[in-house]
Symmetry: C2
Subunit: 435 residues, 2 copies
């Protein structure tokens, strides 16, 4: 049975392709991969002048498999199947859609679970990279995606689209390769992670790093994996993707057995759900990849290349570690200093965006507290202050950060409309304003 | 050096007392402690008619040591020293203040780290309770505190005061022993935990339970303790006590060494802070106690004794576990059902509060997202709907849930004023309204 025949909105059966890049790739951390593979999926048909291509960038636990099915008995469609397909918001009757698995991931592109060429250089046994895989950044990913564009012969993308960490890649594209995309769609994202975001990521990392089965990252060689650490990391992550209200609507304080058991087995339905999600994730995701992905998030800062020399500074807000046991006092940061920080960050973002040439769509969701609407509005404000064309919608949705994966008509409609609107260059826009 | 001499606002050097209760105590879980000890501290002097006594209830990691110092070279005062002392909001020149360490805790009262009498019954080696200590509830604690009141000869407390989990005890007192307190101060608390609250507690518990050094709770006998689990539990807890803004003000995205290191050692200051807090906590707190305290939080529900027979039900919101891997859909809970749930909860709270006789002060803090102002307002609304005297302030403070530990003038002033206001019985209040 071909699902594409039975499901009109589906791209049907898709087959991933692996592209090998034989040239060395130097990363932001100054380490070099001798070569690398990228696994991609494509949907729709590239037109003759190669002007209808849309690049999809994935989030933390995502992959190249954004739409369709891998076989006729595949039960689960790609992670953004409600967005991508014939007559969907990203319409594959019209666009050629490419989704790439990023390096460092665990779904086929070169990463901790693929063979380290160094291991076989002198006739040795093939070994996976494991913890020897270098830490990568959003900027590194965008660089590999630009090499992919060259390979595909796509000089200019009709649009680059991503949610959460995918939105960061889209934003970085617009800054690093301003001539190579016409539209940039940044969904449920942020100009950079907050201290709280980094804090939650650090809990997830420490969960994995402190699991005895992590074995300094060489767990696969030891025939095991840090199951407990991955479960904890996913549980805490999952809570931050949802909202208090959504969890209340779904679970409330319902008890699994109907009464208190006075023990540490599952009592509340929400415990059951989180444990199940954690367990499932731990079986399907690589721990070194999880660590590396959270670091890429923490490092993300599109203003970094445009910062003034002393910006990359140590302890702007002095912390006396001998007093770290005292309660936090907000007195340490005066309102004036906070204003200065905000202004400084805003100026840096304006500088980074100053030479971009695409038009932007920024989307946030009202209940997202991981990357709240205010963070999207920082992006919008900086773009507007630099005179860049930007549309913004804050979508009313109950699903928290996860909202970007839901089929919400206003959201889908905005993406569809934006992708189909004529491209107005900055110059044209300026001319229009003058006439 | 006597600190009390140099610090006018301090209660000075204080000495904890241990009170032994030889009678068996049956707990809500239906298990019985053959006897138990309570460790308390008292500040100020009990007046002749024993009408000036105030009971302080502690929060998750608190103890009986609320004010003053344990010795002249003690560097750290009790956990609520800014609240309790001569001429402070809870004025020890005027009131006799009692703070009790709850059973199940690890600071001297009977709990997982004290000797299980069963172990020495037949001449055996003394063993600590460890995981054999029964799970206790807020209601159990209040019951032991009532026994303590009997022992101290205090029939009626001038006030019972607590923050966070301490506020739950104060609330439970007003429901369970309506004739034994005149004033109830409920600070930064909630009528019951939300699914998100339980979710974060579950992450903390799984951190400890899955640590190989937990050894089914018999870690002390094994000469170890679940250090890694306790660190993780505290890290995630700590993030929920603070706010995104407070963390931004304190740490921002400051780097410890001034540059990215591309590894998993501490890079951001916020990581350093969280690791330090976790490490310190792991050395001072007992893991079985932490588990038990989070369970007491989850179980708290003052409406429980007043619920209708079928209220303690299973899966009110049906959850199909085979579909637990699907994204949450808020469609499962219709708006109508959510309204019903809210109304049902509100009615239950009104029923629980209907026979209370004290007057209430409820305090919340604007930036507290663990127990948000809305949760305090549920308490206030239910009290008002039942015609109970209640004052409420929502205090503007940047410190999140931790705000209740800070010296904030408006907050301290409200507590002081409330404790000194004349007691108006419900009947008097009604008379006043009629005249």
């Amino acid at each position: 049975m071909d699902r594409s025949a039975t499901e009109p909105g589906s791209v049907g059966i898709v087959t991933p392709q692996t592209l090998h890049f034989a040239e060395p790739l130097t990363l932001e951390c100054n380490r070099t991969l001798p070569s690398f593979d990228l696994v991609i999926e494509t949907y729709g048909t590239l037109n003759s002048d190669k002007s209808n291509a849309i690049l999809i960038c994935h989030a933390l636990s995502g992959s190249h498999h954004a739409a369709g099915y891998h076989s006729s008995d595949d039960k689960k469609a790609g992670w953004w199947d409600n967005m991508i397909g014939p007559n969907k918001a990203i319409d594959t009757n019209q666009f050629y859609v490419v989704c790439v698995n990023n390096i460092g991931s665990c779904f086929g592109s070169t990463g901790p679970t693929t063979i380290n060429p160094d291991s076989i250089k002198n006739g040795g046994e093939p070994q996976v990279y494991g913890p020897d895989f270098p830490l990568v950044t959003i900027k590194d990913w965008v660089k590999t995606q630009a090499l992919l564009s060259d390979r595909l012969g796509i000089d200019v993308w009709h649009a680059i689209v991503g949610g959460s960490m995918g939105g960061m890649q889209a934003m970085q594209w617009s800054v690093d390769y301003p001539d190579r995309l016409k539209r940039c769609v940044v969904i449920a994202s942020t100009p950079k992670l907050s201290a709280q975001n980094i804090g939650f990521n650090e809990v997830a990392r420490q969960s994995i790093l402190s699991d005895p089965d992590f074995k300094d990252g060489r767990y696969l060689q030891a025939g095991t994996y840090p199951r407990r650490g991955l479960i904890l990391a996913r549980m805490v992550g999952h809570i931050t993707y949802l909202t208090d209200d959504a969890m209340k609507a779904k679970f409330g304080r319902d008890l699994k057995s109907g009464k208190f058991m006075y023990g540490y087995d599952v009592e509340f339905q929400v415990e059951s759900y989180l444990r199940y999600q954690g367990e499932r994730f731990s079986k399907n995701f690589d721990a070194n990849t999880y660590l590396l992905m959270t670091k890429a998030l923490d490092y993300f800062d599109p203003t970094r290349d445009y910062a003034e020399p002393d910006d990359d500074k140590q302890a702007e807000h002095p912390i006396d570690s001998t007093n770290a046991d005292e309660n936090l006092s907000a007195d340490n940061a005066t309102d004036g200093q906070a204003d200065n920080d905000r202004q400084h960050e805003f100026n840096a973002l304006k500088t980074a965006f100053a030479h971009t040439k695409c038009q932007y769509l920024v989307v946030s969701f009202t209940t997202d507290w991981r990357f709240a609407p205010e963070r999207s509005q920082e992006i919008v404000d900086a773009l507007m202050a630099t005179g860049k064309p930007v549309s913004y919608i804050n979508v009313d949705a109950p699903h928290g950060h996860d909202s970007f994966l839901f089929n919400i008509p206003r959201y889908m409609g905005a993406v569809r409309g934006f992708l189909n609107a004529p491209f107005i260059t900055n110059q044209q826009a300026t001319k229009g304003a003058q006439s």
